[in-house]
Symmetry: C2
Subunit: 339 residues, 2 copies
């Protein structure tokens, strides 16, 4: 009942033309919904297509049109981090929505090793995609270099790369951090620490810079605990360390909600009341924020919109519009119960 098993040759335009008794040119025109085809020819082609089971060959089409109608989203992270990052999912949603609308296929590529990196570069070079959106690129990234060298229409999200004139879309991490920390200071805290993460990229650096600015005189370098990852575990470890350094801390700025969640659990476990004795704020407004008790005060990062805008930037470049520069989206403070 499952039809012939042999992988019989795929039908081509040629076969359709023969079946319909007309030329290949006309068949092609019908397939591409071009004008100047008689209704009669159209019908004949459609019938023939159905009969021979024709499906168009993308490689051949791409070869001649020099386009693939596909856009890559490159996630340049160790895989384990990908699943924990609440923003990536939303960025994906936004990107896919815009691309889908424009009839482009989003293909997600992940890089988890040198080998992956090389292969992805080959993939980009090969012309499998017409453009790329790059997440969390680091400085001196081979991917960024390849994109530049290929002059591939691209947009970087979450990271203003080295070159100043390259299109990117992000948020002002520094200003956002400064704003929420100021507000934390406004609640009367004086010994405020930071659980800093991701210092190998702009987001981490900038949040720390904003923290420092907001604190001014109050800033104490001893109260900054560093951890490479934006993770729950980083929060657990960081908070423990922070309490060790100074048991009198009364405020905490966590570099992300996941970090804040870890810190919160440490505080709970030690019976330290939040926000009574310690006020804590996070960053992202991810699903963690509402899952915490008390609900986390945090910076809302417009992740989905970031994805939409990045996709749009790439499409614009494809459409011949001039390369846009960088764009910073505004952030909001979601003030809840943790501070």
């Amino acid at each position: 009942m499952s039809g012939p098993r042999s992988p019989r040759r795929r039908a081509t335009i040629h076969d359709v033309a023969a079946e319909a008794g007309i030329s290949r040119g006309t068949v092609s025109r019908v397939l591409n919904n071009e004008p100047y085809v008689s209704a009669q020819a159209r019908e004949a082609v459609e019938a023939a297509v159905a009969k021979v089971g024709y499906v168009r060959n993308a490689a051949a089409r791409n070869l001649v049109t020099q386009r693939s109608r596909a856009i890559a989203l490159i996630v340049h992270e160790p895989h384990s981090v990908v699943l924990d990052d609440p923003n990536i999912g939303n960025i994906l949603i936004g990107t896919n929505a815009v691309l889908s609308q424009a009839d482009h296929q989003l293909v997600t590529l992940m890089i988890d090793s040198q080998r992956d990196s090389d292969r992805v570069i080959e993939y980009l070079r090969g012309g499998f995609v017409d453009g790329a959106i790059i997440l969390s690129a680091r400085t001196g990234d081979p991917i960024s270099e390849a994109v530049a060298e290929l002059r591939l229409p691209a947009s970087f999200v979450g990271h203003p790369p080295d070159a100043p004139d390259i299109p990117f879309i992000g948020i002002d991490n520094r200003a956002a951090a400064e704003a929420i920390v100021r507000r934390l200071v406004g609640t009367g805290r004086r010994r405020i620490g930071m659980l800093a993460s991701g210092l190998d990229r702009d987001s981490g650096e900038d949040r720390l810079a904003g923290f420092r600015t907001a604190l001014g005189e109050l800033f104490d370098p001893d109260l900054v605990v560093r951890n490479p990852f934006y993770s729950y575990t980083a929060g657990v470890d960081g908070m423990s360390e922070l309490l060790r350094r100074d048991p009198t801390v009364d405020g905490v700025f966590a570099a992300s909600d996941a970090v804040a969640a870890g810190a919160l659990d440490v505080l709970h476990r030690r019976g330290i009341d939040v926000p009574g004795r310690v006020g804590i704020v996070g960053f992202d407004d991810s699903s963690w924020a509402l899952r915490c008790t008390p609900a986390l005060s945090t910076v809302r990062q417009p992740a989905e919109d970031l994805g939409r805008r990045a996709a749009q930037q790439v499409l614009d470049q494809l459409g011949g519009t001039d390369r846009p520069g960088g764009v910073l989206l505004p952030t909001d403070i979601m003030w809840r119960d943790s501070a």
Copy 2:
């Protein structure tokens, strides 16, 4: 300093051949590391490649080789669920590892609308990929049908599809559920409820069936609360409903760890001791499990291995090996503190 801006024509083999002063055939041989090329020719080609900045065109190559060396991973879920599902990330890791090893590019495609579905089918048809791995397919899925019709080498993960002879890789949800629920019963609980999710697919159905079998006489249909999603929120709502239906419940089987986490929070909030008054077990052994207090007893799902095996199944088919049938991987019980 950033080089010419004009998108000058990409160099082709032809250009390389001209530059090196040899034929295109030899250039192609060098590029593909084929034997029977003189060291001299090899050098000349390498120099020419560097000089003219040649990169091979994938479309042309795919057209003639009829292969793309790319494999699709199709995530057939509403996007919002994707980020919450802890298994997907691990499946991805496993799949990518195997494919990377075999020098194939993994491209992740997500489907979040009818439009997406149609486009992805077009993508598959177009020959952009040599095979596909399909996550959480549902019965009667257009994607599954397209894959079958195209005779595309494929492997379904997490779902034994309708057709009995199609390759898939999964776990025995029913047996796993039965095992952990038996163990829960073994702790002396008598009023055990289930927070059932994902009933529109095999995993949900099978876990419920296993639950029922394990309970035997103890089974009470009133104690099964259904929710379409495997989410934290489903756990919150479900647990509330369960307590409403019978405040004396002393055991809960949550269809996933996320669901269990939600249920646990409800229990905490009402001051119901776990595992003292209520024992609760989950499913997945995801990052949720250890994040809960008390740590969750749960079924360990070998997600990464699922991904590896699925990838291998596809590669095997590509290699001409016979289509493998379905494979069920064993699961373990991680017994911790929540029951």
